[in-house]
Symmetry: C2
Subunit: 469 residues, 2 copies
């Protein structure tokens, strides 16, 4: 039976099963929902088993991690699908038009908390694998699912779990569906994410707050010092002036730039969405290149002195700011944090003491656009959408992606089935029925394409040939 016939025949079952999962209020941040989170883990494990895979529910110090595993296919490449079964809180409940854990179809959308983020997307992969097992009796790859229950609270136990099970989870490619397409009906394959280096800087200049009348003109002003330091971090060309900032940046290749230029990116819509009248940035790069593939530096917060209504004539003793850089492949968070800290210290004017605290880091991640996994994903999207996919990068940072790359040695491709307006984390979250069903088709096509792809060196390459049948 062709895949499309199978999917048509099972459409109602695919929907009703997902609805069962959506009914479980697996809010990971709410201690009162721990039993629901555990029930969702068991539901997912049962779903994997009934799809024809083995499944284990691994306890952690937090919520469990479900690992599914297809029957071994000797010599075939290994594909790991990552997703999560936990959801954001539904509050404020009064803003929902329908109860968040009573899924229903409204205007062609599945309306429920977790519909798009991420239950609907990860369940599409479970059903995709099931479809191939039903149709072909076997998968063309060794398929592993890692479906966790703590994504919405920062995945505190995932990395330790990956570290402890690195050998058995080693995969040639990791597939993640936990995001959105660039636009409706625009199959999107995300192959690069930025990293993050986030720090806090404090400038101190005096032993106490000083009266601006009695001391003005005679003491350093830490706000003005900080303002000067921040202003000096970029030049008139919008480039970051931190020494060595660009040293390790992987420059964009010609094909990437061409693809970005061709991407259906609507600059007017971008401006309207953000409510901005200008899109300044690093000279020499288009807006989409800057957003997707150039390192950036932004001040995320600043404070100092008097912030209330009216006038207070104070020269504060201290001022501070939060500064973060988005990093591209080649850059390391620790290295950039150190360079920014050194630059800030060097910029401090006389009489100002600078303290930098490194708050947070995440490594960038990317898979080359000509990698076998990326080509296979493109092939799958082409098959299920009937359109050429967009090769995208994103300015966002997903630390787990870099973890998979680092710990499991995998290529990572992100294939989002959602839409930007799916209201993830917000009331009335939705996931279109059509995208859910296309997600199942894409998942099945992707496994077939990956089975044919020259993945994972000799073993993968040969296995890929075998498994394509």
């Amino acid at each position: 039976m062709p895949l499309s016939d199978y999917l048509d025949a099972n459409r109602e079952r695919h929907l009703s099963e997902l609805f069962e999962l959506l009914r479980i209020p697996s809010v990971s941040t709410d201690p009162g929902r721990a039993a629901d989170v555990a029930a969702a883990a068991e539901f997912v494990a049962d779903a994997l088993r009934s799809a024809g895979l083995g499944a284990d529910v691994h306890a952690t110090d937090g919520h469990p991690i479900v690992v599914g595993r297809s029957p071994a296919v000797e010599g075939a490449p290994t594909v790991l699908v990552y997703g999560h079964y936990d959801v954001q809180p539904a509050e404020p409940l009064e803003l929902w038009d329908t109860p968040p854990f009573e899924p229903r179809i409204v205007d062609g959308d599945i309306r429920a908390r977790g519909a798009s983020d991420d239950k609907g997307q990860v369940y599409a992969h479970v059903k995709g694998a099931e479809a191939l097992l039903q149709l072909d009796g076997a998968l063309p790859v060794n398929l592993v699912f890692v479906i966790e229950g703590e994504e919405e609270i920062g995945s505190p136990h995932l990395r330790p779990f990956l570290e402890a099970h690195a050998d058995e989870l080693a995969a040639d490619v990791v597939v993640i569906s936990d995001g959105a397409m660039l636009a409706p009906d625009t199959p999107t394959l995300t192959y690069g994410l930025k990293g993050l280096a986030y720090l806090e800087v404090r400038v101190r200049s005096a032993g106490r707050d000083l009266h601006s009348g009695a001391y003005g003109g005679g003491v350093p002003n830490p706000i003005q010092a900080l303002a000067g330091m921040i202003a000096a971090l970029k030049d008139d060309d919008g480039r970051v002036t931190v020494p060595g900032f660009y040293d390790d940046v992987a420059e964009l290749g010609d094909e990437e730039r061409r693809r970005m230029a061709d991407a259906p990116f609507d600059e007017a819509a971008f401006r309207a969405d953000a409510g901005v009248t200008a899109t300044p940035g690093e000279r020499g790069y288009s807006l989409i290149e800057r957003l997707w593939a150039r390192p950036t530096l932004d001040c995320n917060g600043i404070w100092g002195g008097f912030q209330g209504d009216g006038a207070k004539t104070v020269i504060p003793a201290e001022a501070g700011a939060k500064i973060s850089c988005r990093l591209v492949p080649g850059q390391e968070p620790e290295d950039i944090s150190r360079k920014v800290a050194h630059a800030l210290e060097a910029l401090a004017p006389e009489g100002c003491e600078v303290e930098v605290v490194h708050l947070h880091g995440g490594r960038p991640a990317s898979t080359p656009i000509d990698a076998a996994s990326v080509r296979a994903a493109a092939e799958a999207l082409r098959a299920s959408f009937g359109r050429e996919p967009v090769f995208a990068r994103t300015g966002g940072t997903i630390p787990v992606v870099a973890d998979f790359q680092e710990l499991l040695g995998s290529e990572v491709v992100l294939v989002g089935f959602g839409l930007e307006d799916d209201r993830a984390h917000a009331p009335n979250e939705k996931f279109s029925v059509e995208n859910y069903l296309r997600g199942i088709a894409t998942s099945a096509e992707l496994l077939r394409a990956l089975g044919r792809a020259p993945l994972g060196g000799p073993a993968g390459a040969s296995g890929g040939g075998d498994g394509a049948g």
Copy 2:
């Protein structure tokens, strides 16, 4: 009887009377103390009357203003002494070593709320006038007291009162004792105060807060825009770059610069007090010249984006700052506010909208150091302290001083009897017994010197000669 003998003979009475005034908790900001504030006004009026002056308690929409007036001396100059009988709250009470409204002498200091600010200082003038009336039977000047009860809450009813009574309050010179000497045993005559122009600036760049991953590198950052604008307000020489900022500045004369260079100003003590390691400022001017007599620009507050613990990856839609300038004679608050606002608007980068709100202004005030009133005050301080006084200016702003200049056409001299460490507004406020008594002597000597001075044009000049006897 020589003045000094009279003062010695009346020492205990001068102290005990002041203690009575200090026992009245005339906290002007506390509605529950309104009756005490009124009682303090009546006490001051009675004190003026028993000193030999006429006195009226003028009701206002707030606390009353006491006006005292000496018997008229035809042809003599008119001197107005301004002070206030209200006090700051005493809280936190637990930090007082003695009850704030039970004055006592501790280590040679009168310890009580209001001892230095300003009951002790204004009462010294009442006792100084009384001394001359007792000794000479008349004053050498026409003396007017204006003693208000709302100084600690911003004097909301004083200016309207001065406007309504400008004719009858017109004076050749206004004397204010509501401050401190430059150092202990250093008679200080303050002849200039800075003005103030205080504004708030807001920079808006987007319709909402944006995710720094999704939008970084593609949208204006209002914090960085604001930082750049603030940084650009001063050049590498510490000069304010606002076009026209220095246009109307009255430059320092040679004698003023010489006196400032000779002033007993301890830069090391200044650094230690402020807790600073550097004293940057406008090139070409000494620290004391900058503090006293050069216009300044300080950022008093700044805010924007995320200020909490940890990391939030936001590009805020808006950032803001408070900016104030201290002005010197020649500069007008409205003019400088407008110039700073224009400069900020011109500095705004593309995509950033700037809004400036003018919050507060105060005019600078000064009396020439060779004015008759200043020379007379110097003579009085020389007589009572036995030392050459310091001619000082201050970076602070006292709007009422400019009001007196503007509304009454008076020269203003400030003769502070307090010390910098008198803990005005703080627990354990104090005023040294010695300075209180020297204040009485100085007040009497000042009236004599002013009576001899060529004040107020022909009438004042001749009256001065007559009244000196």
